[in-house]
């Protein structure tokens, strides 16, 4: 996040004040054209190298996906799906670059309890700020795309930064820079939407009548978008959610519960305070002390008789 400062923040996790949000010049977006992607993993390599990440050398599990899932060191991952199109009878090898979608309405940020551990810049990038991260894993639950990963070593959450460090100095993300076929392009969100339209037209002309863009409105749109040949069936692409949105449970937890809980507890405490102030003391009277003595004697003697 070098170069981006507090005044570039649009939202900050677990913070009750709103940032000034004045530098709202334009939003950026990365467009991943799945139909141009050859699954070469140059983006994965570029991500590992630019971010200086040290992923483990794994094993082969009978698929091309390596590593087998996103990890704290693998912020982007090619996911390969072999799909036999029932309409054409043709095999399609659907290859999707998975990673943070940089939602306009980020579930991770909503779920995060640590002030400033997750920020959203005015350009739309959602970034994790490690020094503020407490490793609770709430972001994992907040995310509709199952992206953040918590390191077993330092218990911090990690995910794609959209190379906010590069973007802040006018560079495209490392993956976009490395992509040999131009399947990953980067620019303003509007430019990417316009670019996508051209691609969709081309795909439709090649028989993909449901080609379209994936910019899901359920999360307010995303700053990483896909061009899909089968935009009507995003789940084909390694379970890309059909209509992602922040889980209702998370909304309830981080919405009503948070405020209602505070209110209820506060009210209870206030009631106790008021009661303590105004209610008659519940205290032992001298008469009761005397009666107690009497009763003790009585019972004691009964006890002895028994």
């Amino acid at each position: 996040m070098a170069g981006l400062q507090s005044q570039d923040f649009a939202r900050i996790s677990a913070t009750t004040f709103r940032p000034p949000d004045v530098r709202h010049d334009f939003e950026v977006a990365k467009l991943i054209d799945v139909s141009k992607c050859i699954g070469c993993k140059a983006c994965q390599a570029a991500c590992l190298e630019w971010n200086n990440l040290r992923e483990e050398i794994g094993i082969n599990r009978g698929v091309y996906d390596n590593p087998h899932d996103l990890t704290e060191n693998t912020w982007t991952l090619m996911r390969f799906t072999e799909w036999e199109n029932p309409d054409s009878g043709n095999l399609e090898w659907l290859i999707r670059k998975d990673g943070c979608m940089h939602c306009a309405d980020p579930g991770c940020l909503k779920a995060c309890p640590s002030p400033g551990a997750i920020v959203q810049y005015n350009n739309g990038i959602v970034d994790f700020v490690s020094e503020n991260c407490i490793g609770c894993g709430y972001c994992v639950k907040g995310c509709p795309f199952n992206i953040p990963r918590i390191s077993k070593a330092d218990h911090k959450a990690y995910k794609c930064t959209l190379c906010s460090d590069r973007v802040s100095v006018g560079q495209a993300p490392a993956c976009a820079k490395a992509c040999p076929t131009g399947a990953i392009v980067f620019g303003t969100k509007q430019a990417m939407l316009d670019h996508a339209q051209g691609r969709i037209t081309d795909l439709k002309s090649r028989g993909f009548k449901n080609a379209g863009i994936y910019d899901p409105p359920g999360v307010g749109g995303t700053h990483v978008m896909y061009v899909l040949h089968h935009a009507d069936q995003p789940q084909l692409y390694a379970n890309l959610p059909n209509n992602p949105r922040i889980s209702q449970v998370v909304e309830l937890w981080k919405g009503l519960t948070k405020y209602a809980g505070m209110a209820v507890v506060g009210f209870a405490a206030a009631f106790a305070f008021v009661h303590a102030t105004v209610a008659r003391r519940n205290d032992v009277s001298r008469a009761e002390d005397r009666e107690a003595e009497h009763l003790i004697d009585e019972e004691a003697s009964r006890g002895r008789q028994a």
């Binding site: 639950k141 889980s247 449970v249 001298r286």
Partner: protein, 231 residues
Amino acid sequence: MAVRREEERTTVDRYPGRVRVNHWVTAISLILLTLSGAALFHPSLFFLSSLFGGGSNTRALHPWIGVVLLASFAILFVQMVRYNFWTKVDTQWMHHIGEVMSGREENLPEIGKYNGAQKIVFWLMTLLILVLFGTGIVIWYEYFGASFTIEQQRLGHIVHALAAIAMLLVVIVHIYAGFYVRGTISAMTEGKVTGGWAFRHHRLWLRQEAREGVIDERQTPPRRHSPGPAE
């Protein structure tokens, strides 16, 4: 356990040391859990995480304190459960709860060691601690993050939060009751209450205790029908 005649007053043993220790371990755990939980619950309370050495430590400690709470409360439960079975008298007593809150207990039925409200607190705490611990495991990401689905963890979070709120309410009731009903706190500090307190609030229990016998701890010989300790 016994009723003791002291120089200035008569006391009734309510809690032996082992129960008091357990109670306070439980109580301190609950307070720490409340503080650390609150830090993670609402941004305006995040500052409380400083008490635990910052957010990461708070995140790491909170579940372990929960384990301490569970263990401590489990012992407490064993110690107390036999006094906490519900009786018809408790139901009667509960009908007069408004009078208790107004400081009038003249018309209440005689009550054993615990009244209905205390039993409710006991059972609510038992239930809530189980729920909190169960959901706490589900959301203990460091060790169990891979054992539950994200959807299960989401549910875990909201149930944990709701249970914690409920727990806080119970704790507030419990603490306030101890404070409002004067003379109660000594039960957990010194382990004993005054005879008058026992007479007023738990007369049946006082009868039972007195029937067990009275220990005279006075230097001077006792006078029959002597006035109360205040004299």
